[in-house]
């Protein structure tokens, strides 16, 4: 715009934009470090302070009137990012690291508490890990394709790139597909998965329902102004 090249208000406005960008960058650095640490699960407690500090920086900037990313976008973007990180790790440790001591203990322990798909005949098949019918296919498809794509999409979305918004829409629909398929799979084999464990179906609701991110995020993606996202 021509007003940015001339007029006394322009330098002040540019300085404001510059400060907002700086704060945004600093906040995102803390948020991403926090998210990745939370995504590792075991180091989650160390990630929490980073995450909260990042949120606080953005909150403070908004109170000052700096033009930073809207809070709802920050929450949605990091919701998808944390969801993606935790699910990628959760799936891939069972596929690739199913004979490490901590993974055997944690996954079999979780299986005995919540979902015997991760307990029944654990490590008996050629690939190792969970032996529940169909589960390995979901782990590979979700851990190699869906959730890494969702992490990247969330990052593009948080940087307010147009491709980020598009990838969020695409991977949300992929997420819907994965949820429907996964739900029907565990329901079909519910007799072996949710029998004789400590917290069967209600336990599943307790720990798993919080990952329905596609259904939460999609109504927002379809009702925002796409012009806010940059083309590059």
């Amino acid at each position: 715009m021509s007003s940015s090249q001339s007029g006394s208000a322009a330098p002040g406005y540019d300085a404001l934009l510059g400060r907002a960008a700086d704060v945004q960058k600093r906040a995102d650095r803390h948020l991403i470090i926090g998210s990745v640490l939370i995504g590792t699960m075991l180091l989650g407690l160390f990630g929490l302070p980073f995450f909260l500090y990042g949120l606080w920086l953005l909150y403070k900037a908004e109170r000052e009137g700096l033009p930073v990313r809207p809070t709802i976008m920050t929450f949605l973007g990091y919701l998808v990012l944390v969801d993606g990180a935790m699910n990628t790790l959760g799936a891939m440790i069972d596929v690739l690291a199913n004979h490490s001591l901590i993974v055997r203990t944690f996954i079999m322990g979780t299986g005995l508490v919540f979902d015997a798909g991760y307990f029944w005949q654990y490590n008996t098949l050629l690939l190792g890990g969970a032996s529940a019918p169909g589960e390995k296919a979901f782990e590979v498809a979700n851990g190699v394709v869906l959730f890494p794509m969702r992490i990247v999409a969330a990052w593009g979305f948080l940087n307010m790139k147009r491709w980020g918004l598009q990838w969020m829409v695409i991977t949300c629909w992929m997420g819907v597909y994965a949820w429907v398929a996964y739900m029907w799979n565990i329901t079909t084999y519910s007799e072996m998965r949710f029998t004789d464990v400590l917290a069967p179906v209600w336990g599943w609701w307790l720990y798993n329902i919080w990952y329905v991110t596609p259904f939460i995020v999609m109504p927002y993606l379809y009702t925002i102004n796409r012009e806010m996202f940059t083309d590059d």
């Binding site: 939370i38 995504g39 699960m41 075991l42 989650g44 407690l45 990630g47 929490l48 995450f51 809070t71 709802i72 929450f75 949605l76 990091y78 919701l79 944390v82 969801d83 935790m86 004979h99 490490s100 001591l101 901590i102 055997r104 203990t105 944690f106 079999m108 322990g109 979780t110 005995l112 508490v113 307990f119 029944w120 005949q121 654990y122 490590n123 008996t124 098949l125 050629l126 190792g128 032996s131 019918p133 720990y207 919080w210 990952y211 329905v212 991110t213 939460i216 995020v217 109504p219 927002y220 009702t223």
Partner: protein, 128 residues
Amino acid sequence: MSAHPHQRLHRVVFVAAAVCLVIQVIEGALFIPFVLIYLGFPQVGVQEICRELYNITYQADNRECRYPYPLVFQDPTPEPWREENKEHVFGTVTPPRPHYDVPGWREMIAIVERRRAAEANPSGAKRE
């Protein structure tokens, strides 16, 4: 000031996302410690817990949690290794070995003809 047309929807989305994010973060941080503490850590070691879990799932009292597990497998059979018959331990095995009697080339004709003959003359079939 004109209100955003989807303001209420966005409010609901925001609250749902915030709740889910907070719970995911807490769950992510505390899930592994909770499971380990539930199973008796640190009074009993991780390897001992692992071994007892194996004993429960394989329904045997002599399983071990080999650790460190060899990086290059010496023994290609899946765990529990050297188990003679998994059906003894678990019941039906996944993937199952159903031993189908697969019909040969156009053998189905003979099968169906035998069936037709048997159904046409049930008493006769019984006598033979």
